[in-house]
């Protein structure tokens, strides 16, 4: 056999093999086609597509599939979507949505540049987790914001920006309360507060007062003035030298007085965000 013949045969045989398998696959694809429930597609359209995973599923598509197919999956799991999306999903799937209060991320640290004292100068990778490995971070306070913006980079809705003082700022109008930033922060500085929250503590330090104050000018020193000035019993407590607001009691407080006497302004009133309700969607 000449080489030309072999070459031609090789091309012919490979083409035939390819065509045969191609046809078999095309045939199988038609014959064994799966009709996907069209409802899944509709639910998927209604979700915000942030792929944040706050619902507990791996992305919006997986949640859409689960909420349509599994009767036990509630329609209100989408945190960023809030009530609007929960309503749509409930309507599409015929499930009952329970009311959920929207939340937003709150940074429990005000120890920005010049306020929190530094233990050393960090020149490594610009990453909170990396900085945390070395002596628990470059700040003297080992509880506060590390300031390298892991939360800012990981916010699926671009609601966070790094402030000039080295502490991230949350745009409440963009924040959906998905909690991705809270889970990524190595110091757990970020907490999710209900939108109706009146006051919040902006410090995470559990050091005793003297040490906390030495480390950072904006620290909660655990003096307990807020606790004594709370107009409702037990709305604010001091736990581990740190003031903690009990959201269940603080909820209905009309005129919050607790923060007025705070010597370091670690506890402060939150600015009401009326715009929040309009924007969503």
């Amino acid at each position: 056999m000449s080489y030309t013949f072999i070459a031609i045969m090789a091309v012919v045989i490979m083409t035939c093999v390819g065509i045969v398998f191609g046809f078999i696959l095309a045939f199988a694809d038609k014959k064994f086609a799966m009709e996907e429930n069209p409802l899944i597609g509709e639910v998927k359209e209604a979700l915000p597509q942030g792929q944040c995973g706050a619902c507990g599923f791996a992305g919006c598509a997986k949640y859409a599939e689960a909420v349509v197919l599994d009767p036990d999956v509630p329609p209100n799991l989408c945190v960023p979507g809030k009530a609007e999306v929960a309503d749509i999903v409930a309507k599409l799937t015929g499930k009952v949505a329970e009311a959920t209060e929207p939340k937003f991320a709150h940074i429990r640290c005000r120890g920005g540049n010049g306020i929190a004292k530094m233990a050393y100068e960090y020149k490594g990778v610009h990453d909170c987790a990396a900085a945390k490995i070395i002596q628990q971070g470059p700040k003297l306070c080992k509880f506060g914001c590390l300031g390298f913006g892991n939360c800012v980079r990981n916010c699926p809705f671009h609601a966070m920006t790094m402030g000039e003082n080295g502490i991230p700022q949350v745009d409440k109008n963009l924040c959906t309360g998905c909690g991705k930033c809270a889970s990524i922060c190595p110091n757990h500085v970020i907490e999710l507060l209900p939108i109706s929250a009146k006051v919040a503590v902006s410090c995470s330090s559990k050091e005793v007062g003297g040490v906390a104050r030495k480390d950072c000018a904006a620290a909660c020193i655990g003096c307990g003035l807020c606790m004594r000035n709370c107009s409702h019993a037990g709305g604010v407590k001091v736990v581990d030298h740190l003031a903690v607001v009990d959201a269940s009691i603080c909820h209905d407080c009309e005129e919050a007085t607790c923060f007025a006497k705070c010597p370091t302004k670690a506890i402060a009133a939150l600015v009401a965000s009326a715009k929040k309700e309009e924007k969503i969607g």
Binding site: V17, I24, L25, M34
Partner: protein, 190 residues
Amino acid sequence: MEYFTLFVGAVLINNFVLTKFLGLCIFFGVSKNLNASIGMGFAVTSVITMSTVLAWLLYNFVLVPFGLTFLRTISFVVLIASFVQLLEIIIKKQSPTLYNMWGIYLMLIATNCIVLSVPVISVTNEYGFLENLVFAVGSGLGFALALILMASCREKLDFADVPHALKGTPIAFIVAGMLSLAFLGFSGMI
């Protein structure tokens, strides 16, 4: 007896993972959890068996008569990729339970070297149809055995006091090396 020797040879002595170092990506990727490794092991066994039979037919009835045996690698790749795809389509429709268990592994198998090497070695040794079948089943089971052994070791390793620098994949490599040494003991058995 001849078939038995071939079978034992494929499972233990020439174990594809531990003596020929093929299919290592699945071996390390899916050996973290015993249940997953059992599923994967048997998925690979069935895919190897079926694709080796098909490859044998393709080789002996199409490539040999036309004198095109040099095309075996590329034609086997096409065959295996299409076959796994076909299997996935069928399983997805026919048995969603099986698809949930195996579906994610099937695509991994499609491009795996062990699935390609079994038919290639089989035709290079000029095995007959039955020999080919026994060799394929043996290779698959050998792979499953290695994977299950490895997964069992790694599940125990999670609770062991491993030095910090060796945690995770590094210690898995060391364990694989030791398993491989142990399997070396089978050589010369036949």
